[in-house]
């Protein structure tokens, strides 16, 4: 059965590393802020150039501003290094008697945000360093902005930047966990899909091969044709599953599409007829009653689960049922529930019960809010399931 392949993005790397890379979304945000900072720094430089025609003390500020532009540019390429350089330049600007610039303040806030996002301890350390520098500046230069409450304001801004970086990290962590869970679920679904299809196909191949071995001379051509058909189908499904696992974007012809409930309904009828014919070959007389539009109220996932259950029920018949007693299966739906049941008579040498596939489906159905009931009356065995639908 075709299945949806969810391509894995480059960002879905494991989230266990403490220092994380800047994702593509973050990168665009970083570029935007850096551009704003650089533009404001250039504007301030121009202003300083106009003011500092005859004032050499402004030259230091201008030099620091140029260095800050450079650090911002480095931030675009290596965010952590650029952020660290920015913090160092900001500390230097406070310890040297220069005029503080707004672009420097913005750059520091950005730097602390980046450092906290990358590693919380680094962000906190940057805040501590900045606050310490501002306090020292206030002590050294009594007439500076830091001495008149500027240190407190700067500290608050730094804390806000640090908190913002921490929140972004938490959100990023949650996104990574969700992507990892989605990928695991996708891989599990592929594994289950492989089991549902190839296991049943291989089981049928074994049965037909056993049948062929009983023939005195050579196997009947139609038996061999059926074996070939089953093997080919199993190989095709395996290749599709491997392609999905490898997320091969070039293999368009192997892309799995998402079947609708209507497609699955047609598959249900096809599976019922195919399995009934196969069981008939082995002398099982059976009835399969399918109600009108059984998947009409089912989601794609529910219909897929139901189809898997039907396949496993047929497999279970072969493994445990007495051919002479036959089997009966019903698949029908009400507007709110899907009812699937099977009754057969277990063979004398067989222990009544479920194969591993049914055991796994039991868990999935009960987790989805459905019911799973097994009844035994003498050798008669009944499995009745109810799945709530949309």
């Amino acid at each position: 059965m075709p299945y949806t392949a969810h391509p894995v993005t480059p960002d879905s790397a494991p989230a266990s590393a403490p220092v994380r890379r800047v994702s593509s979304i973050h990168r665009w945000w970083l570029i935007s802020i850096c551009v704003i900072i650089v533009i404001s720094a250039i504007a301030e430089l121009i202003g300083l150039a106009v003011i500092a025609k005859d004032d050499t003390s402004i030259a230091t500020t201008a030099a620091l501003t140029v260095a800050q532009i450079g650090a911002t540019a480095v931030m675009l390429r290596k965010a952590r290094l650029g952020a660290a350089l920015t913090v160092i330049l900001a500390v230097a600007s406070m310890l040297i008697p220069t005029a503080a610039t707004f672009s420097m303040l913005f750059a520091v806030i950005l730097a602390i945000n980046i450092l906290t996002f990358r590693r919380t301890a680094e962000g906190i350390a940057a805040v501590v360093v900045m606050v310490a520098a501002s306090v020292i500046s206030g002590i050294l230069y009594h007439d500076s902005a830091m001495a008149s409450g500027g240190a407190l304001s700067l500290g608050v801004f730094c804390l806000i930047a640090c908190t913002g970086g921490w929140l972004m990290r938490q959100w990023d962590d949650a996104q990574r966990r969700a992507r990892r869970a989605e990928r695991l679920e996708h891989d599990m679904a592929i594994a289950q899909y492989l089991h549902d299809y190839t296991t049943n196909d291989l089981n049928n191949i074994l049965m037909l091969t056993d049948l062929a071995l009983t023939q005195p001379d050579s196997p009947a051509p139609d038996t061999l044709e059926r074996v070939r058909g089953l093997a080919k189908d199993a190989l095709k499904q395996t290749r599709l599953a491997i392609a999905a696992l490898e997320h091969d974007d070039d293999a368009d012809e192997h892309t799995m599409y998402q079947p609708t409930a209507s497609d699955l309904e047609q598959q249900l009828f096809a599976v019922a007829e195919e399995q009934r014919t196969l069981l008939d070959t082995y002398g099982y007389q059976g009835s399969v009653l399918i109600g009108e539009h059984p998947f009409a109220h089912c989601s794609q996932a529910q219909a897929t689960l139901a189809l898997s259950l039907v396949r496993e029920m047929f497999s279970n018949i072969v493994q445990h049922a007495d051919p002479a007693a036959g089997y009966t299966m019903t698949i029908a739906a009400t507007p709110s529930q899907l009812h699937i049941a099977v009754t057969d008579c277990h063979a004398e040498h067989s222990t009544p019960g479920m194969n591993t596939g049914l055991a796994r489906l039991r868990r999935r159905i009960t987790e989805a809010g459905g019911t799973w009931q097994v009844e035994e009356h003498g050798r008669n065995w009944t499995l009745a399931t109810i799945m709530p639908t949309e």
């Binding site: 196997p219 007389q285 009835s287 109600g291 036959g326 019903t330 739906a333 009812h339 008669n380 009745a384």
Partner: protein, 222 residues
């Protein structure tokens, strides 16, 4: 059916299928009360699941009359009736419903049933319906339902259905091949051939294999 040795009343095996446990219990209680009338119900089985009822008809002791609810969690009583008709051609089938009977009448008749009763009036109608169905007649007399013999013999969708394997075995049997020869020809085991033959006999309601051939010729099955 076996006649009772002492009272002359008919001893019947009656099955009931209803997914409503309460309704099922009531119907069984009504049937047990019928022992005081001209029917003696010797054996009653009841199931709430169609799979169990159909298996009972397929594998269990012959059932004289099956009473089937028309609404079975997405399946119709007509679908179940048609399947039972294929499996057990000699069984009388009575449909029951809480809804308007007219909605199910046509499909149930085509499925080969003998009567359709309203659940609200079972106490007054069930006994006569069982008597008629057990005798192979439809009920009431002027209704559109077929008799058992008509529903089993007529070439309708609920008629005798032989699988492809069964038809092959029948065809080879008519060519005077033994079971071993048939098994070799089809590439199956002898036990499988015997299993198919048992099912063919059951579907055609005969006991001996030579009767199968005669019946097939009569019904123009092959």
């Amino acid at each position: 059916m076996n006649d009772s040795l002492d009272t002359g009343k008919r001893r019947l095996r009656i099955g009931v299928l209803d997914n409503d446990p309460c309704a099922l219990e009531c119907i069984v209680a009504i049937l047990r009360q019928l022992s005081g009338t001209d029917i003696c119900t010797a054996d009653i089985w009841s199931y709430s699941r169609p799979t169990q009822a159909i298996q009972e008809c397929r594998f269990g002791q012959h059932t004289d009359v099956v009473i089937i609810d028309m609404a079975l969690n997405g399946l119709t009583g007509a679908q179940v009736a048609a399947e039972i008709r294929k499996i057990s051609p000699g069984t009388g089938i009575i449909g029951i419903t809480s809804y308007t009977p007219d909605a199910y009448r046509k499909s149930l008749a085509e499925a080969g049933a003998q009567a359709l009763l309203d659940k609200s009036s079972l106490r007054t109608t069930l006994a006569d319906a069982i008597t008629a169905a057990a005798a192979g007649r439809h009920y009431p007399q002027d209704d559109m339902f077929p008799d058992v013999s008509t529903s089993a013999d007529a070439p309708n969708p609920a008629g005798i259905h032989l699988t492809a394997a069964e038809q092959r075995i029948l065809a080879l049997s008519m060519g005077h091949l033994t079971s071993r020869q048939i098994a070799d020809e089809l590439g199956v085991s002898v036990d499988t051939v015997f299993s198919h033959r048992r099912n063919i006999k059951r579907k055609l309601a005969v006991n001996e294999w030579h009767e199968v051939i005669e019946r097939c010729r009569t019904l123009h099955i092959l």
